[in-house]
């Protein structure tokens, strides 16, 4: 298993390299640059200033040179300076990454802690009342776009009930910046991400449970004299979780994608907001770093999925 993980991690390197090339090219294909926006009539020699800034950032050099420069610096741990925020990229990414990870983890917990048990309960009595209510509710929820849901949550929880903050990743006043404060701020955006996925996971769990209940080996288990609840725990549940656990790993990447959109709506200072601002400001060093990290997130998610798959399914483990 150890060598397998190392091999997979090494296998990611060429992939990530290609992704950086693609992002670099797309970024430069978009019109404008970071310094076009500087419009200060107080500065006497605007054109000369812009030219100086462009040269100091190396933007006048050929693209291959710029890319080569970026990557050699990057692998040495020098991620460059933000063009617009005048801080090292690493300093910007630190807290943003932490906030987004918290958001993603909270959303995942909500998805699994609600979606799977609900799906299991539905499967215990398929086409029963509970199943019917949940299925209808899921269908409605599933057809509502993300941002409408987010606005509804903000309205209900933040404005109407006033129990959760709707903006930002940290508060002000006493206790600001504590872990609880962070969790408090991540709650609503996490819920907005989680709600739709929860319906997907409950449906998925329900289907998988029903599917496994019909398997021959479940009948074998009953034929041995095991009680219904033991058959359920030992034979049905374990097998039914295999596709779910795997899907969960693959979804980690997509979850981060969902975070990008919702961070904007909640002004939540995470990787998504950082990236959106960087794209708007043509802040190349920041764009390169954040997109690379997103790619790493997706690839790691896939790796986690494959490892989990092997953990839960001996047929994979032994091949």
């Amino acid at each position: 298993m150890g060598t397998y993980i190392v091999r997979r991690l090494l296998g990611m390197i060429p992939m990530l390299f290609l992704i950086t090339v693609a992002v670099f090219l797309m970024m430069h294909a978009a019109p404008g640059n970071a310094f076009d926006a500087i419009l200060n009539p107080g500065i006497k020699d605007m054109a000369a200033l812009k030219q100086r800034l462009i040269e100091s950032a190396g933007l006048n050099k050929p693209l291959w040179w710029q890319y080569g420069h970026w990557i050699t610096q990057f692998v040495q741990g020098n991620w460059g300076y933000s063009f617009t925020q005048h801080q090292p990229v690493i300093t910007l990414i630190g807290p943003a990454l932490r906030n987004t990870l918290l958001l993603a983890v909270m959303a995942e917990i909500m998805i699994l802690a609600i979606g799977i048990p609900v799906g299991i309960l539905q499967a215990r009595n398929p086409y029963g009342r509970f199943d019917y209510v949940i299925s209808t509710f899921s269908f409605v929820l599933f057809s509502v776009p993300y941002f409408i849901l987010a606005i509804f949550l903000i309205y209900f929880f933040a404005i109407d009930l006033g129990i959760f903050p709707a903006q930002g990743a940290v508060g002000t006043g006493p206790g600001a910046g504590s872990f609880v404060d962070h969790v408090d701020h991540a709650f609503l955006p996490a819920l907005a991400i989680a709600l739709v996925s929860t319906t997907v996971y409950s449906r998925y769990t329900r289907g998988s449970m029903l599917d496994v209940s019909r398997k021959d080996y479940v009948r074998t288990a009953y034929a041995k004299g095991l009680s219904g609840s033991l058959v359920f725990r030992k034979h049905v549940l374990r097998n039914a979780m295999i596709p779910i656990v795997t899907q969960f790993g693959y979804d980690i990447g997509g979850l981060v994608g969902g975070a990008v959109i919702l961070e904007g709506l909640f002004s939540y200072q995470g990787m998504g907001l950082l990236t959106i601002n960087a794209v708007n400001g043509r802040d190349y060093p920041v764009i390169m770093a954040t997109s690379l990290l997103f790619a790493v997130g997706v690839l790691i998610g896939n790796l986690v999925a494959d490892i989990l798959y092997a953990v839960v399914d001996p047929r994979i483990r032994y091949n």
Partner: protein
């Protein structure tokens, strides 16, 4: 006079849907004595599996229902037991093995787990004792490397080995009755013979009675003490094995016998009975076999024949064949 081990009286098992009623088993009587091997033969769809699942009370839910009858086993009516009491019977006094050894074992549990599970349920053993008993049983059924195989998973074993594991699992509590539903159908011929041999050994060493379901009369000839031929959810002929092959009476039984591939004539194609089994959701009013029967006469399509005594212990459901020794054309 030996007491019967299992006695089924007028068993009817239906699948009841909104506007259909599938009469999968439609009035079956069956008696099994200790150490006896009873074969149930018949084409696919004749109700063999549902008969055995009725005995185990493991019918496909929610639609499968035993609508009437008695199943007396060791003096108690299984149909009167609570589900809880029934779990004490399953795997302990009556065991079952299924057709598909590839899918009948749980892919994520080790062989050892799956065998010890039965022991831990029915015997007061700790894990260590259960494992050693499992290994012993695997050795007994001829699984090589038994001590290693208990730590392996089903996908690591061949089909033949898996069926041996299934037998070990079914026999580990030494049940009085083993129900085997087409246990060799999915296996190739040499493995098939070995598994059948193993079942005979089980009967010899554990005194287990066996209900063996098959559609292969070759298997019946090899194994059976008593044979029941099923058609359309009913018994059409019931007799001891020797008499069945010496004097088959029901036209369906005869047709089945003609469909045994003959080794001497080197026929490649299997003769099969023309037509198909009737739909259990709408049986005809008359004889259920009439449409395919070479002896059928108009009256056969009108009145359903009863099961009649045609010789000592020889029951036949046909009005057009005479009693033994009465010179009926065969």
């Amino acid at each position: 006079m030996v007491e019967p081990l299992l006695e089924i009286r007028d068993l009817r098992t239906y699948f009841i849907g909104k506007d259909v009623e599938v009469r999968a088993v439609d009035g079956i009587d069956l008696t099994v004595y200790p150490r006896q091997i009873v074969c149930i033969v018949g084409e696919s769809g004749s109700g063999k599996s549902i008969t055995s699942l009725s005995i185990m009370r493991l019918l496909p839910q929610p639609r499968g229902k035993i609508v009437s009858g008695q199943i007396t086993f060791g003096g108690q009516d299984l149909l009167k037991l609570t589900e809880d009491q029934m779990t004490d019977v399953r795997g302990n006094e009556i065991s079952m093995i299924f057709q598909e050894p590839m899918t009948a074992l749980n892919p994520v549990l080790t062989i050892g787990d799956q065998i010890t599970e039965v022991l831990l349920r029915h015997r007061k053993l700790n894990r260590r004792q259960a494992i050693s008993k499992a290994v012993e049983m695997l050795q007994f059924v001829g699984v090589p490397r038994a001590a290693e195989i208990v730590h392996e998973y089903p996908h690591q074993l061949s089909g033949g080995l898996r069926q041996r594991v299934m037998i070990a699992m079914a026999m580990v509590c030494e049940p009085k009755l083993l129900i085997a539903d087409e246990p060799t159908t999915a296996l190739d011929v040499t493995i098939q013979a070995q598994v059948l041999e193993l079942m005979k050994k089980m009967r010899r060493d554990f005194h287990t009675a066996i209900i063996l379901i098959t559609h292969d009369l070759g298997v019946v000839a090899d194994m059976a003490d008593h044979v029941m031929v099923m058609y359309g959810g009913q018994i059409v002929e019931s007799v001891n094995a020797d008499d069945l092959f010496a004097r088959p009476l029901h036209p369906y039984t005869k047709a089945l016998m003609e469909s045994i591939p003959s080794l001497i004539e080197e026929k490649d194609t299997l003769y099969s009975i023309p037509g198909t089994v009737p739909d259990a959701a709408s049986f005809p009013t008359g004889c259920r076999f009439a449409q395919r029967c070479p002896l059928a006469q108009p009256s056969c399509f009108e009145t359903a024949p009863e099961l009649q005594q045609m010789g000592p212990g020889h029951l036949v459901r046909c009005d057009k064949v005479g009693r033994e020794g009465e010179g009926v054309p065969m």
